[in-house]
Symmetry: C4
Subunit: 468 residues, 4 copies
């Protein structure tokens, strides 16, 4: 009787009726006192925070912690989203820049039709890419540099794959082929000398046998530093780009598709020095993250306690029912005692704690796993919102308004562009569709009270009504 928990009893007008029916019932069977005690325990257990406060004056601590958490977690996600957006934008813009630098005649939005059809065009494209690579420091407007292995810079590899043996005579409908594929590579090192001699057919021993050719691959590594974070008082990251330009002749259809693939790795910079106030700002942010972790730990402990108490009450009720009525309580009725939303909040708290720790590591530049962190924080924020929506579910009409506000928050133009936010918006939209449907049905009065509750609260109050 001391620790009853959160419950839903929004159809309070039904209480009088069920009370009366209960009175009639109790006059028939005389288990009386113990049943009445358990009944009141259950009633309190299934109350919402508001009713608990009115009934016994219990202050809604848990509700307060959830509200504080939701505010902090959302702020944290928006801040991380803004940082992550810079990372995503830097990746995308570099890929676009590489396409314009290394693909001859490339224009925006023609990736799917970018192909060459004649032998001279293939040589032109290859030599164009090689020359652009050799002159990169004089051409590029970004901070691109060759990767260094020790003292010398890594070379560009021009690899051609061809069938080992092949005599193909389509004119006679005959061919003699060995489908084994041989790869032959040529390495071209960035010339340190300042002479502007371009590479071409005349000074590079490179010929292609188009009848046997399967693919040509140009592979090289570039490095860059994402400086723009400096202006947002964060430390820059170092990027490794592994670029692969593929001339795909697998089909031998007369069309060689050209694609540029940019494999990006983010690493901490080795040796850096920045003047000014970046350090301090990072410290403040870390303190905020640590506070989020503490709040989540508190919420985690309180919700776990509620779940445990629910299970205890369930056992007590099952044994009472078996003893007095000689009846098993059905599994679905037993599940009424386990509040699915508490479990959701627990999961969300765990995700937030892990995500916040990761975020602190990223800010300290000891880790660069932006994607994992954004998935963790994004998922946890979504769950915490869903959890609070349920927690506030005793004012059913507020539900939809909250979910709309949520969407407004989530569709913030800057944050929505980063990956996590997109996911979240999608998930919210999924949630909204049944929500709106539900609202519509509620308005037209076609659904009874019970379904309405179960829709929002994941529960069938059929069994509860019997006991009120």
């Amino acid at each position: 009787m001391e620790n009853p928990e959160l419950a839903v009893s929004s159809c309070s007008t039904h209480d009088d009726g069920s009370l009366r029916s209960y009175k009639r019932h109790s006059s028939v069977c005389q288990e009386g006192l113990l049943e009445d005690q358990l009944r009141r325990k259950l009633k309190f257990f299934f109350m919402n925070p508001c009713e608990k406060f009115w009934a016994r004056g219990r202050k809604p601590w848990k509700l307060g912690i959830q509200l504080l958490k939701i505010a902090m977690v959302t702020v944290q996600l928006v801040i991380f989203g803004l940082t992550n957006q810079m990372v995503v934008a830097f990746k995308e813009e570099n890929t676009v820049a590489f396409k314009h630098l290394f693909l001859k005649g490339y224009m925006d939005r023609m990736d799917d039709t970018y192909a060459v059809y004649t032998q001279t065009d293939v040589y032109d494209q290859i030599f164009f890419a090689i020359n652009q690579y050799l002159q990169l420091p004089n051409i590029s407007v970004g901070n691109h540099a060759y990767e260094k292995r020790g003292a010398e810079e890594t070379a560009l590899a021009v690899c051609q794959q061809f069938y080992k043996r092949g005599t193909i005579c389509p004119g006679n409908d005959t061919f003699d082929i060995d489908p084994e594929i041989v790869t032959d590579c040529l390495y071209i090192e960035p010339m340190m000398s300042s002479d502007n001699t371009t590479v071409g057919k005349h000074n590079l021993n490179f010929t292609l046998d188009f009848h046997r050719l399967v693919a040509v691959q140009l592979m090289f590594n570039l490095k860059a530093i994402n400086l723009q974070t400096v202006r947002h008082h964060e430390l820059p990251d170092c990027y490794d780009f592994t670029l692969t330009i593929v001339f795909d002749n697998k089909a031998h259809s007369g069309r060689i598709k050209i694609s540029l693939d940019n494999n990006i790795a983010i690493r901490e910079c080795k040796d850096w020095h920045v003047s000014g106030s970046i350090q301090k700002n990072t410290h403040y942010m870390m303190i905020f993250d640590a506070f989020v972790v503490l709040i989540c730990l508190a919420s985690l402990i309180l919700c776990t306690r509620s779940v445990v108490k629910g299970i205890w009450l369930q056992r007590e009720f099952v044994s009472f029912f078996l003893y007095y009525y000689k009846k098993e309580v059905s599994f679905s009725d037993q599940m009424e005692f386990v509040n699915g939303w508490y479990i959701l909040i627990v999961i969300s708290d765990v995700l937030t704690i892990v995500g916040s720790t990761l975020k602190m590591e990223i800010q300290a530049k000891s880790l660069t796993s932006y994607d994992v962190c954004s998935i963790l924080l994004g998922t946890s924020t979504m769950l915490v919102w869903l959890g609070v929506i349920r927690y506030l579910g005793f004012f059913q009409k507020y539900n939809v308004r909250i979910s709309w506000d949520l969407r407004a928050v989530a569709s913030h133009p800057n944050t929505a562009s980063s990956i996590t936010q997109c996911d979240e918006v999608l998930l919210l939209r999924c949630y909204d569709l049944p929500g709106l449907l539900f609202l519509w049905m509620d308005c037209t009065g076609t659904i009874p009270c019970e379904v309405s509750l179960s829709e929002h609260g994941f529960r069938m109050p059929f069994f509860i009504d019997q006991w009120r």
Copy 2:
């Protein structure tokens, strides 16, 4: 009893029933005469113009004024929309022309992908823009001229922003940076001499350190006169364009986005002379605007009077109720006496008066604030339509038809292109959505009469029915 005002009593079939219930009621309580007097006062107060005419022969002056006002305000808005459209089109076409003049290789509909990727392209773009600026009078087909400060023409400013100190070596993963940004500007004055020497790297001391570069900005001012209004018998305006071409290298991603921003100010021309009939036409238009202001003043006074009378009747009713029944009248019942639509009409009238005054000033070329005027006139016209829709609300079925006609008016092709009209159409569409929903619910018969009234009339007639 002499001045009862507009009301809604569309469910007239309920009257008989409530009358009977009233008779039974009056037999029980003997307050009799005074109550009956107040009851009739209230009934008359909540009548609509049509019923008032049938009941006591009161001619619907206010309705007439509203109908006249709606016609005149709409005509006024359409006329202003046509003028404003020329202003908007002139602004947009100039911006497009500047993009084609100052951005090398610019084509329509490529604003979002317009960028350069190599160092030589950056220099080319900058020198192209400078040369085009220097030769503008010989190139442009419009009436573009340099801005003059006193006798000499203003210069073009080429400003580069870069990090104060920066040694960035992505190859070694090291950097040493001072995030403070330094701006360095170069001013190029339009050469008055007729020699066609172009500016380039050879004769201009201008180099960029791309590793440290954050942005390059080209800023210059141009002036123009919107002559086409002359042909519509209106006086031309003078325009100041503050152009900024930004080469954005914030991200250092190898992609420098180029954007042209055109900041437009409209000013009265200082010294002008036009032959012919422009002046007369402006006079006629001003007389029309003045008449609109007079009509709106009349409507404003009549509606304010009605609101005041409503508040007096409310006080009388509250004191009567408290004296005889010893009961407080609830706040929501008290609000029944304040007709929200009168307040809407009052707001709309104030906006129209201010807007029309502004329009007269614009026509007299003493002001050029087209945007503010279009917002004022557009909003007021929308409100006046909403108000009249309500005013005519006693024929509920006409509501939707009117709102459809409204939309037809608002979507007039010429006027819809100007900003205000767009706003209006959007707002009307917002209004239409609940309207259509409401119509649908009305047809299916799922909503009772009271809700229907409150939806349209902002009122709950629950309390009224008791008294009829």
Copy 3:
């Protein structure tokens, strides 16, 4: 009683009930015999062809004529559509060809953004168009030729419109303008000499004052013969193209929009000679058209007779009603006797007769008004289909299927491209929408029988039921 006409009595199960009510009625009032006679007359009048055949063995001649007419009119429209399509395609392709020939750098689908922004571009465009015009016979791949006035060929007119007086100094915010527009033209005649000297600034005295310039217009006439009809065994038409290239500088915004307007007139060729079988084919087609005219005349006469008889019966009924019951027959009840669908068929027949006569004239090459003919034939075919749908309306369930088949016919890919067919399909779609809505309501059973009839048959059988 001898000539009862087409009627609708689809609710035949109601007959027994109304018969019984009639019997009770006749026992009360003793007008007896005359009323009974009129009643049977009316009943027969409102029968459908099928019921008339069962009742008195009257063969449905009119139904047969309608069915024959619908088949012939549709065949006629499809044949005319195929001819008309060639005309429309020739017009469109010529316009596209002229744009490519006379507009420098024109590409497909850029009409709305085709503009120039510099003074040299304006001169280039003008001289390009002039040179292309002068060399047209050597350039064009079509049968284009200059128009001849007597012996010599018509000249190209280069007209510039400018403000009469204008001193515009945007730099000082001053202008002095006379808004009167002066037009100044220059005529360039096609050179018959074979020298390929191009026209340009050097040998043509043509300068533009861009500050005052309002528009430049290049106007010239070309002629062509649509030869492809020869291959479809039809006689070719001669085409006059009046081309106007407008350089629009009205706004003085720095952007001169260029548009090419092609005004097309179709005329009979003066003097032609074609070898082979074209003449015979035209004769057969004319015989078919004449037969359509005959059928439509028959249908016209029969339907007019029915309408006249309906009006006679109406008068008889009104006078009977006035005499025996002393009651006026309401206007809506009187309108029951005028079958709206007969009137529709009459209109359709008149249109077909006029359209077919026009078609014969076009085939004989004494007229070239393709557009008027297509509107006449298209509208009449649509009406005849609607009329027959109604005529067959006694099997209500067939209605929708017929309209679907109709749409399948109308959306025939070849014919749908010509103007008329498009109109028809649009109109059919308009008809279909209520049709489908009606079907849906019919299925769900929400509409009573009477409304269903009136929807399809344009009549309220409320009054008829009383009399059956």
Copy 4:
């Protein structure tokens, strides 16, 4: 009584009711025993496999075979789809490559606007295509070769079609034409000599009279081998391309549309040699196909037997009914005994057997009719899925889920691109629409049980209920 077959009796709760009604019925009429026997026979006949197992322990062999068949047929279709996709992609890519090789200035996605407008452009295009053809072996990146007739290579044919006689003077509105079309061809053989002399107006006697010209056609044959199948361990096919470039001047509108038509024939290669493991893989695949044929034969025999038994039972029932009740059994009731789904399965089995045989022939490279095979296998797989859906129809709620899974299978990205799969997905979508509508109606409870059955099972159980 020994061989009753599959039936639907999903409304099992109705059984008790109908049993009771039957008892009352049997007390009235005394045909008793024989009727009871037939009744039980019928009841067993209309049972589903599950009920048969519970009733008499009959194991659902047929159901097992169908489930095995559906798995194997789907796997087979997916494998064939992947092979077929390579064929389709090779065809499409070759066509794209030819357009880029032989059409001057061709760019992707401009097929509908690709046209020339001047005489020089027409000559340029023709000579460009001829030169590209002559130099093809040095230009093409694919395995393209000239077709050989004996020792020498086939020539490119340049054919121009023109009116036999034509004097067209649009300037005078006169023409004298003979619509007979003459075709004049010029043959250009690939030069074996290595000299790179290009063909042009100077060395080729080729002129066009544009006034009379109807069309120019360039026709030539090329051959290629689809090598990429080698990498998927399948044998390559040889392809014959018959290319036709058409310059269409039929309309004489000044616009000559250019289109390239590629007619593709797949043939077995004559003489080939491939090193490695291709042969083995083909053998395994053939064994799988043979097994599919066996399974389908078994299913075919079992279903045919069931259909035959249904017809026997129908005859027995008809004669019993005629003898005892002196009543004819209506045709629709008789059709109850013929299970439409069995016939569907039989058709599907026949198609699978033919398709699998064809597939084996294709794999053995003795046939190349990919299209026919894909239509056969695709249709049969669709039918087998529909059949099994029906077979599992006794769990009605599973229907929709199955059809969704089906769609997931069918919309597999790789296979969906081949022609057959597209058809199938379309058909499935057609099936799904009523399915979803039905599901929705089922949920809302607006349709009675009988309609539900007939919708899914193609039967009206009205008659059956009488007998239960």
